[in-house]
């Protein structure tokens, strides 16, 4: 398999491409507004709401535990 097949980026030798002109294999065109076909970053990403809430809750609990630790052992 060729290294980075399909992924090699456009370079100076790729001809005169205008802003917004996508090439096969490009995921994001130079100007997505001018090329609606350009894939937005998170289009096929699975929903993460539950994971986000879980992470934030665990972080809140961790920080609360550290705060309690500081108050209990660092207090007068």
């Amino acid at each position: 398999m060729r290294a980075g097949g399909g992924g090699r980026a456009a370079g100076p030798g790729d001809g005169h491409r205008e802003a917004g002109e996508a090439r096969a294999g490009d995921l994001v065109a130079r100007d997505p507004r001018e090329n609606p076909a350009a894939t937005p970053p998170t289009a096929d990403a699975a929903p993460m709401t539950a994971t986000c809430v879980k992470v934030l809750l665990i972080e809140a609990a961790t920080l609360a535990a550290l705060w309690i630790f500081q108050v209990v052992f660092g207090g007068p």
Binding site: M1, A3, G4, A9, G11, P41, A45
Partner: protein, 565 residues
Amino acid sequence: MHLIDWAIIVVYLVWIVWDGVRLTKNSHEIEGYFLASRSLPWWAIGLSVMATQLSAITMIGTTGQAYDDGMRFLQFYYALPVAMIVLSVTLVPFFHRAKVYTAYEYLERRFDAKTRSLTSFLFLLSRGMSCGVIISAPAVVLSIVLGWNFTFTVLAIGAPTAVYTMFGGVQAVAWTDVKQMVLIVFGLVAAVVALVVGLPDGIGVGEALRVAGATGRLQTFDFRFDVTEQYTFWSGTIAAFVLFMSYFGTDQSQVQRYLTARSIDEARTSLMMSAYWKIPLQALVLLVGVFLFLYYLFTPPPMLFNPVHEARLRSGPRAAEYRALEARFASAHEARRQAAQALIEARREGDGGSVAAAREAFRAREAEVRAIRREAAALVREATGDRAFTDVNYVFPWFVMHELPVGLIGLIIAAIFAAAMSSISAELAALSTATIIDFYRRHVREQASDRHYLLVSKVATGFWGLFACVVAVYAVELGSLIEVVNRFGSLFYGSILGVFVLAIAVPRATPRGAFWGLLAGMIAVALVARTTRMAFLWHNVVGVTVVVGVGVLLSLTERRRTATP
């Protein structure tokens, strides 16, 4: 050190090289070598990412920092879970779907070749140098503690790592990291247990922690808003957020990890592991330092933990001065021990007034001990000319070598080696990937067989391993270079994130805006670093703001000019 401990260290070094090299059979093509054929499970990637961040500097330096200053450093990590969420929603699916090898490849698709080359070059420059520092810092300490020649210690860390990374590629990096992470956590937990067991009879863990708390060492929240302070709640949540976004989102050594995942979901889950476990793990590292303080509160410590400097002072022209300081230290330490005991007794009796008085007395004795240690460190700097000398780096190794039983010494020293190697291997793999994909394949030889690219990739990995070892040897000779490199690295992180923000979030951004914005961001950070006392974490905020601001302005003016007939 006992023969058994030496045997454990040697067995570890041989086993880790064998374990990494045997994965060569899975790296017969470039995608397998650089991206593990996108086949790694989330838990292996997650552990590998955490092992990379937990370097030997963390095990040696951070425990020493907590011994001296407490747990304030923990605030640095408060933004990490939020950064992981944002990255999981934005950049992880983005890069994963792009099927790129390096994060910088995308910049050429979006902007142009020079923006890609510049960011990749900045990565190579800063990571190549920092890789040397990652070897050098623990090698300095280990060479003194183990009585080895410094260059030999650098090679003992760098050469095995370069060998297994060179042959096994990113698969070797990930799977050795997993095992090294287990060893590191075991070493840390064993140290905490040994330290708790070593507390004097009749003093409970809770009572001892309250004594540490009286010195402010358990402070993990500092709400002062002061940009000259390195570790506050605000620098940890705002400035560190930008740093983590840049490090995990645009640094090849991290991006390459989640590109090895089987799917977007597995890549995200691997990052979530850091979100859940990084703060507790860092708290464990810092707790080792706090327990070291408590251990040496009740057990007489040496005034300085660096045996080489101590020996030089004892036999040098300022020996009398040093001995006088030592005598003052011994009596100040004893006074502090008695004050700590009095504070514990006062608490047991529960009289608020006497607790407050005992607490103040203990703090005064603690300040005295610290002042004498500062004087001793200043004497070392003057007498030896080692201006970068910080004794805190030797506290944990000293404890390991002098207080732990046979067997455990070897295991913890092996864990320190593991921490150094797990950090370096990932950097070497990333440096090699950026060299080959962003430069060799892009500018030198665009068309070649997979076999050819695999061969030059291995050569590149070996080259970066050698480069890191050379930097490590010279870093210590130049002394302050380590600090220079750390500051040098902080010039880039915010600015590089700025380019990616322009690329992804600003559709109107043009190649010219991105390129000059990046240069403007780095110049702005350099100016701020040179002319103000702003803590380096905030440099990242300056970098990203200037790059995005200048990039947007230039892009808008360029478009207006293009639109005008």
